[in-house]
């Protein structure tokens, strides 16, 4: 992070279903500037886990236990979950 980007925050990100296979982990922590959007976080995660790129359009994103759009601005303490389309039943 560059000094002029303002304060940074650590965001915990959980992966579910085959996203764990794509990333090789169940969770990670990403340091991002304040006010980063979910979409920007995803772009940063693609650099770390390139296999996520193919899933960008279909990925569902939640903060806590609620779905959020890609424009959602992250706050300190937010916990993000990323996963493929759901398949219950």
């Amino acid at each position: 992070m560059k000094p002029d980007e303002g304060a940074a925050m650590d965001i915990k990100v959980n992966f579910f279903s085959y996203f764990r296979d794509l990333t090789g982990c169940a969770e990670t922590v990403e340091q991002v500037p304040d006010n980063t959007t979910l979409g920007e976080l995803y772009a940063a995660l693609i650099l770390k886990f390139p296999k996520l790129a193919a899933m960008e359009k279909s990925t569902l994103m939640a903060v806590g236990v609620d779905y959020q759009p890609r424009g959602y601005r992250l706050k300190s303490g937010d916990e993000v979950s990323l996963f493929p389309p759901v398949q219950g039943g």
């Binding site: 579910f16 085959y18 569902l60 939640a62 236990v65 609620d66 996963f83 759901v86 219950g88 039943g89």
Partner: protein, 133 residues
């Protein structure tokens, strides 16, 4: 509206669930649906499905769906059981019951609930090929 949600690793005991049904005198419809694991997943023959859930979010999303159901239909109770972990072919993975005054709202609400579950409730399935024991 009474609500009961069970996410479990244990087999779904339909007889026990049916025996536990309660209905007030104004109710005329008790509808239940059982979703069963099929032996085919696409072109593949499978022995089971391994279900995974994001439990906390599952509970929250079902609560939101039940809130919407309650506003939309005059339902007295909804009970839903979803199994997670390994569920073998021919075994139930989902059990839903709706109790309402008339059959129309019970059928409509049940169909809607399952459709919405498949859209927003974070449960995933992984087909198991070969021995599922």
């Amino acid at each position: 509206m009474k609500r009961e949600l069970i996410i479990t690793n244990e087999p779904i005991d339909e007889a026990k669930l049916i025996a536990a049904r309660t209905m007030s005198s104004g109710m005329g419809a008790a509808l239940y649906f059982v979703g069963v694991v099929r032996g085919q997943e696409g072109d593949n023959t499978i022995s089971a499905i391994d279900y995974e859930a994001f439990q906390k979010m599952v509970e929250h999303q079902f609560a939101l769906l039940f809130d919407q159901m309650e506003k939309r239909w005059p339902i007295e109770s909804v009970r839903l059981v979803h199994r997670i972990g390994i569920v073998k072919v021919n075994e139930p993975s989902l059990w839903v019951e709706i109790v309402s005054p008339h059959r129309g709202e019970a059928f409509a609400a049940c169909q809607w609930l399952i459709d919405e579950m498949k859209r927003v409730v974070p449960i995933w399935k992984k087909p198991v090929v070969g021995d599922a024991a």
